[in-house]
């Protein structure tokens, strides 16, 4: 089995051959590859730049209050994004609280307790389901979930079934396959000898998982959660249909679970709604909308890059 390093070294050798004088000239393949890479990089660069430039007016107009302001009334040109940031984080947190234990528990089961063949079958099923479109989840959300939540929590006297909790639960189910399959990969990447050594000492399968596999897969598991979180933060359509889309609903006490049973608004549900169409043409309102996208992107990228970084760093001595 050769590693990428070997391959790269080999190709560099042959690359030297290409640069011999009698083969002068730059390879078209190389040129095209770099051009396409530049195109991809340029597009994302342009995307970032456009979002920053187009959102400038709102930062100039509202200042930091754009992030900390609790009121959003576009008809009177008041733009505070805090309730939406709160909604986004809450919904994602609920999703994670749901998906993390179930997803990791299920991953432990498939990777540690299931024979390889069955494991592959389960994994394929789960990955298949990771592709279920979010609009389909949204349908399930309006049809079943919001009524279930409404009845299940009836004694809390909730106003309707459209709550942050509903959106969070729906998102939790949506990111479950992502969390599970990445966690399974992380657990499988712990070398088998380590498990065997622990079993050789007389540890039970459970003790081996808790003492060897999970600590060593820790970074990978965190990465799985962060990448799941990234997906949860950015989901639009499913959340849009069940979150209630209520602006300016910052609870008095954000730590009270009661606050989860209120309607709310997330950054993505705001962007997916009718205001995006209305705002275009009014520079300040449009800037405020684009600014929401910029905030959303920053949040998601922080989670995703954090996840990627955790995944890449090999486990190191933990002491």
């Amino acid at each position: 089995m050769m590693t990428n390093e070997d391959l790269v070294r080999d190709l560099r050798l042959s690359d030297g051959a290409a640069r011999r004088p009698y083969l002068a000239g730059i390879s078209c393949t190389r040129l095209a590859s770099f051009a396409f890479t530049a195109l991809a990089l340029g597009t994302v660069g342009a995307l970032t730049l456009i979002f920053i430039l187009q959102s400038l007016p709102v930062w100039q107009d509202e200042g930091i209050g754009y992030l900390t302001g609790g009121k959003w009334f576009y008809r009177v040109q008041t733009f505070g994004a805090l309730p939406m940031i709160y909604g986004t984080l809450t919904v994602a947190l609920i999703a994670l609280l749901l998906a993390a234990p179930i997803g990791i528990g299920a991953a432990i089961f498939t990777s540690e307790f299931l024979p390889a063949r069955v494991r592959l079958a389960v994994k394929i099923t789960i990955e298949l389901l990771a592709g279920v479109p979010s609009v389909v989840y949204g349908l399930i959300g309006i049809l079943l979930l919001r009524d279930w939540i409404y009845e299940l929590f009836a004694r809390f006297d909730l106003l309707s079934g459209d709550t942050l909790l509903t959106a969070g639960v729906l998102l939790g189910v949506m990111i479950l396959p992502t969390v599970m399959t990445l966690a399974d990969d992380a657990l499988r990447s712990v070398p088998a000898e380590q498990r065997r050594a622990a079993r050789g000492l007389g540890l039970t399968a459970t003790e081996t998982v808790l003492a060897v596999t999970i600590p060593q897969a820790g970074r990978g598991l965190i990465a799985a959660l962060l990448l799941g979180l990234g997906r949860a933060l950015g989901e639009t359509i499913a959340v849009f249909l069940v979150v209630g889309r209520q602006d300016n609903n910052l609870p008095a006490n954000i730590f009270s679970p009661r606050a989860w049973l209120e309607s709310g608004q997330t950054l993505s549900s705001k962007l997916g709604g009718s205001e995006t169409n209305i705002a275009y043409g009014d520079p300040l309102h449009w800037a405020a909308m684009v600014g929401l996208a910029l905030i959303l992107m920053t949040m998601v990228l922080a989670a995703t890059i954090g996840g990627a970084w955790q995944r890449k760093t090999k486990y190191a001595p933990s002491i």
Partner: protein, 280 residues
């Protein structure tokens, strides 16, 4: 930047004038008869018509304003603000029918005894001074108010009727609903729920339309007769919107909508035809 945008929009507009596709966007309320009309015109006259409902009435107005579509669909009148926003555009609303906005409630509210509200009671509910049905003659139950999302003609009509001008409406935050079916679904499945809905969508089986009680105590229901006679105030015109006089395919379409088949479609979807309006 702004100049560039205007320039691009102008280019787009000139492009459009020569394009053969007739593009229509706007209110979901107006969409119902228009989409069916488009279907028939496509079949009969091989017209190429695209209909979309993004952003509701405001989407229709801005679509015409930005030159993205030839025909807008709107269930609210063009405001001065709209005209100010697009100074170069000559908005031309064409009245094709009339719809009323009903205040709808869920079954438990209706059966709890709330059958009508006064304008003042509605204002109190909308501004959060009344939060329980027991304060307006119903059984104790919190009021779950679903507000139509911004840009929807339904909301504009409601606010205009309640406050004289949509701009004077107070800034409130309720859970929002978009499409008519979404509204109906959410109201019917929530206890103590209330929302605004196009009167033609109220079925009095899943959701129930409240009457409006005048100060004298007289209750007016959103029936066609009351809408035509203007006794029920919360009604709205349905418009097709063009920039200047409609041309070409847009003209054909407008004529069709105002013709007998088009007006039949307006009635089929529960709205009042122009002929009915003129009876009053």
């Amino acid at each position: 930047m702004k100049r560039l945008l205007t320039f691009v929009a102008a280019i787009a507009a000139t492009q459009l004038a020569s394009a053969e596709t007739l593009k229509i966007n706007g209110s979901t309320t107006v969409n119902l008869p228009v989409a069916e009309a488009a279907e028939e015109l496509r079949a009969q006259k091989k017209l190429d018509i695209q209909v979309d409902t993004q952003g509701g009435s405001s989407g229709g107005i801005s679509g015409v304003g930005d030159g993205l579509v030839q025909l807008g669909m709107s269930s609210k009148s063009i405001s001065d603000a709209d005209r100010a926003k697009y100074p170069k555009v000559n908005f031309n609303p064409i009245h094709i029918g009339e719809d009323a906005v009903a205040m709808i409630v869920s079954r438990d509210v209706w059966e709890g005894g709330v059958k009508s509200l006064t304008q003042q009671q509605l204002r109190d509910i909308y501004e959060g001074r009344i939060t329980d049905w027991k304060d307006v003659g119903g059984k104790p139950q919190r009021i779950a108010f679903f507000n139509k999302e911004p840009g929807r003609g339904t909301w504009e009509v409601f606010a205009h009727w309640l406050y004289g001008d949509a701009k004077k409406a107070p800034q409130v935050s309720f859970p929002e609903v978009g499409g008519n079916e979404e509204t109906r679904n959410k109201v019917s499945s929530t206890r103590g729920a209330m929302s605004q809905l196009s009167a033609s969508w109220t079925d009095n089986q899943k959701v129930f339309a409240l009457g409006i009680k005048a100060d004298a105590g007289e209750v007016v229901q959103p029936t066609p007769e009351n809408i035509v006679s203007r006794r029920y105030g919360m009604s709205r015109p349905l418009f097709l919107l063009t920039n200047g006089e409609p041309q070409g395919d847009a003209r054909t379409f407008v004529d069709f909508m105002l013709g007998s088949r088009g007006q039949e479609l307006v009635k089929k979807h529960g709205y009042l035809s122009i002929a009915e309006l003129k009876q009053r």
